[in-house]
Amino acid sequence: MSNAENAVVKVKKVKKESELSYWGSVFFRFRKKKMSMFCLILMTLIVLGCIFVPIISPHTITSTNVANMNQPPSMTHILGTDELGRDLFIRFFHGGRISLGIALVVVVIECVIGVILGCIAGFYGKLIDTIIMRICEILMSFPFIMFCITVVGIFGNSIPILIFVLVFLGWAGIARIVRGQILSLRELEYMEACEALGISDIKRIFKHLLPNVLAYVIVFATLGMASVILVETALSFLGLGVAPPTPTWGNMIQPANQFIVLSTRWWIWVPPGVGIFLSVMCFNIVGDGLRDAIDPKMKR
């Protein structure tokens, strides 16, 4: 891009943010996007709700009351009740806890595995690199949804299996990103300087390269949260993820398969759907915003 105006704009940015620290300037750029900030706040509210509403609510997720089933929203039950008369307001937030919790666990494990293997592949190269990258290639060629359905379907619906299969297929993406970053960073001079100074491999990787890679990992993790939530809820909706009575946003929508629920009891299936939608959107927008803020060149 050689247009003069762009050149000018860039000159200016450097000047403005030059006084800030790295993360300071990231936040500086992030804050300027109103949409990203709004979503960050909304996301925080959802997370806080999922943590605290089940604690402070007078209802519990298991207490049933058959006399009070399928009630529309009211003052006592803000989001109504389900087919066993359980309070849907607290189940909504509890479901969010499970959905967001699974996503968080999956993404964290994915990132740890991905970063470690990506670093090893990128740093040592040669055979190790070939092996790890070939494994990544295999994993990324898996028919994702179908494979999840297969594994969860035949091993039974349990949260650990769900987490396992999502991590199993998911770490390859971040490993490849990290490896790519390491490869390009390795070429930089300061690594050569380290080598000259005789700093050990491990120290080199973790002290010098990781902080550079961290930004990419954070962006991946944020966007990854969004996609894991989508997959988990879809599987749970199909009855192949988290099984009731443990609520998740996915299996809470499942009753809408019933004609009567779909056509007359919106309060049962709409709120969890909106919950999924909002949190996925927030993670997507915050992730995009972070990516642009961390490195404007990283834009797709």
């Binding site: 060629s141 898996f142 994702f144 949804i145 494979f147 989508l230 879809a234 192949l240 999924i276 927008i285």
Partner: protein, 321 residues
């Protein structure tokens, strides 16, 4: 070019084998098999053992993998445990349905997503751009099953514009092929929108950012400086370049749509691969599970190759040899 294709096809083999081995292992490790579905109060244990023997379940896993592989390469995907018929025979009628749905969704995505992306890019920050950007954000964030239910609720139950399920009314005999196609299309509109939504949003985002980059490039300025009209500049000069990264997406997209059809098919009651696969998983009909999974894996690998070839076709700078 030909050597490149051959080399890539050869590279697919180990990856494909890797996938099938992992699939096989997972199925091997799983508890239970389809024979446990034959629960009948008056069935005796030896009769159940008989069934297991008939499906070759007592062979060691290692042998069975190679038997499976050999048969698969000969085009024999085995016998379905549930239907007691060849898997190929069961899947054959499902593939056209799912493929039609996937292609319809794909075309829907392309026809809506790419023009929307272009409009967005050429009118950056306009009202149109902002609303399209919001739409695309909704598109990638709205879970497809929820979106499908909303559409069903509004357009099939409330308005009754579209049928609730299925791909046709079997008692309707279309007077000609076109009427038959329209009849089917009518059934497929909602599923197509649901399945195509993610692609529409993705294509739009990619087209937008790619076009934005292209529009700011020097050769577009050159084209403008030649006195070409804006339409020619955008639709001939810019689009041709802007679509290159999108075209490379195409190869990946159809396989992933066929995977995504699982959810759509189960919401809209469409008799396709996805529903068959879910039924097979629930019934532990392993031959069908293996067949569907490896078919989709193969399609994914093939898609990656097609992507590369499309890339070469779209961009004269790329040459494989």
């Amino acid at each position: 070019m030909r050597t490149y294709i051959i080399r890539r096809l050869l590279q697919i083999i180990p990856v494909f084998l890797g996938i099938t081995v992992i699939l096989f292992l997972i199925i091997e490790l799983s508890p239970g098999d389809a024979s446990t579905n034959f629960i009948d109060p008056r069935m005796r244990p030896e009769q159940r053992a008989e069934i297991a023997r008939r499906f070759g379940l007592e062979e060691p896993a290692f042998n069975r993998y190679f038997i499976w592989l050999g048969n698969t390469l000969r085009g024999d995907l085995g016998m379905s445990m549930r239907y007691q018929r060849p898997v190929t025979e069961i899947l054959a009628p499902m593939i056209p349905t799912t493929l039609t749905l996937a292609l319809l969704a794909f075309l829907f995505s392309v026809i809506i997503g790419i023009p929307a992306g272009i409009i967005s890019a050429t009118r950056q920050y306009s009202l149109a751009d902002n609303s399209l950007t919001v739409f695309s954000l909704i598109g990638i964030s709205l879970p497809s099953f929820f979106f499908g239910l909303i559409l069903l609720r509004i357009f099939a139950i409330q308005m009754q514009w579209f049928p609730l399920f299925g791909i046709r009314n079997p008692l309707y005999a279309p007077p000609n092929a076109l009427a038959g196609a329209m009849h089917m299309l009518h059934h497929l509109v909602l599923p197509m929108i649901v399945l195509g939504m993610g692609g529409t949003a993705t294509f739009m985002r990619y087209t937008r950012s790619s076009m934005l980059e292209v529009i700011r490039s020097d050769y577009i300025r050159t084209a403008r400086a030649k006195g070409l009209s804006e339409k020619v500049v955008i639709y001939r000069h810019a689009l041709r370049n802007g679509l290159i990264p999108i075209i490379t997406l195409f190869g990946f997209w159809i396989p992933s749509l066929m995977g995504g059809a699982v959810i759509t098919e189960s919401i809209f009651g469409i008799p396709g691969l996805g529903r068959t696969a879910i039924d097979a998983v629930n019934f532990r009909d392993f031959p069908i599970i293996m067949a569907v999974n490896s078919m989709l894996a193969f399609l994914t690998l093939l898609g990656a190759l097609i992507s590369d070839l499309l890339y070469a076709a779209a961009d004269p700078r790329i040459k494989y040899d």
